[in-house]
Subunit: 224 residues, 2 copies
């Protein structure tokens, strides 16, 4: 933001009010996401977010109805950002389906490394803290996991269809298994401040999928 | 604690000071563990712990040097309690080694159900919150995971030795995989307020161990 001693240019002046409001709101959301992925909701004060962005204390309610509403918006923004990231990877036709999942995993590791493994997953952090959060967040967080899982099911089904994964693999269960374990891996990577938990989980998970034995009882070996 | 209007019995009077101190301290630890497994460290106020136990506000430092020292003690106590629980299960010669792990999993589910899936794992909660915690907790929490993993390695190695798990299984990796995924499962069980994430993870994990392909074989899509 320009220091107040500089006169705004006529163009900026003419368009100032609405864009400044939008910019400030977006900056508060960015700072909120950064704080929540690093420390969680309970440890994050609104004052500190406002200070980070140089927004005057007391003007928070100009942007959000309450801290609860701010949290709702942060979950919504993060979910949107993350859905886009998953779609970029899972929709990448240049890679085989299983390599799309590997590419997402590698990208997530780079993302954590960029912040020295201080920041984890906003949804996982808030899930862990649910006991201290507004009850309305519960359904919102569960819906985000359901969305990520549905996208992952489609990627795993595509991998199964091209023979990268066994025909007998239950892709619905495998997708839930991934997100349960992945959140645990992100937690450990934050604790250890390094990539090893992500790598160990990813290797063990992919090995497990590929080792799926053929469905035992019924005589059908492959899906037609 | 007896209401102050009742005169203490001579016996209680003679032994009062030290046991009362010990009892109050133990009660504060219990209340602290309950709060930290439910809400985490950042969302838990010392005042609220003192209130729960009817300990006068301001007397906290009579029992602990600081909130940080209190947290250190809670991690230590919880780790001791949990090591005992693991040893009870993993040392149970009446069950096969793999059934000892299954028994631990079933016990953990019952433990969460007892508190309506509101309370998770103190170590997982604090690991998730590390960005907002005293840096000294990091090594302490990592050491607790290392201890749990070492106990699990011994259980899995025993299962491998009796043929319950494939000879080629890397039990060190499998133990880390378990604790990474299990913490994720506890997180999801808290979020969903139900046992399904624990059950799904446990089934998928045990299936994965049992499907481990022979060591010499290159990664294949199906078992021969």
């Amino acid at each position: 933001m320009a220091p107040s001693t500089l006169p705004p240019s006529p163009r900026r002046c003419a368009r100032r009010v609405a864009p400044a409001y939008g910019r400030t709101r977006a900056a508060l959301v960015r700072a909120g996401v950064a704080a929540l992925t690093e420390k969680g909701f309970s440890a994050t004060g609104i004052d500190e977010i406002l200070r980070t962005e140089g927004v005057p204390k007391g003007s928070f309610y100009h942007y959000f109805a309450s801290k609860e509403a701010f949290g709702t918006e942060l979950i919504r923004e993060y979910a949107g950002y993350f859905a886009h990231k998953l779609e970029q990877h899972f929709g990448n036709d240049l890679l085989s389906p299983l390599n799309r999942l590997r590419a997402f995993i590698a990208d997530a590791e780079r993302g954590m490394a960029r912040h020295e493994f201080r920041r984890g997953c906003l949804i996982g952090n808030l899930g862990q803290e649910m006991g201290a959060l507004p009850e309305a967040y519960r359904a919102q967080l569960a819906a985000v996991f359901a969305d990520w899982q549905a996208r992952t099911v489609r990627c795993l089904a595509a991998a199964r269809a091209v023979g990268e994964l066994p025909a007998a693999l239950d892709v619905e269960r495998a997708a839930v298994f991934f997100w349960i374990g992945w959140e645990g891996a992100v937690l450990r990577a934050k604790l250890e401040r390094g990539p090893e938990p992500l790598r160990l989980f990813a290797r063990a998970y992919l090995d497990a999928l590929q080792a799926t034995p053929p469905a035992a009882a019924p005589p059908t070996f492959r899906r037609s």
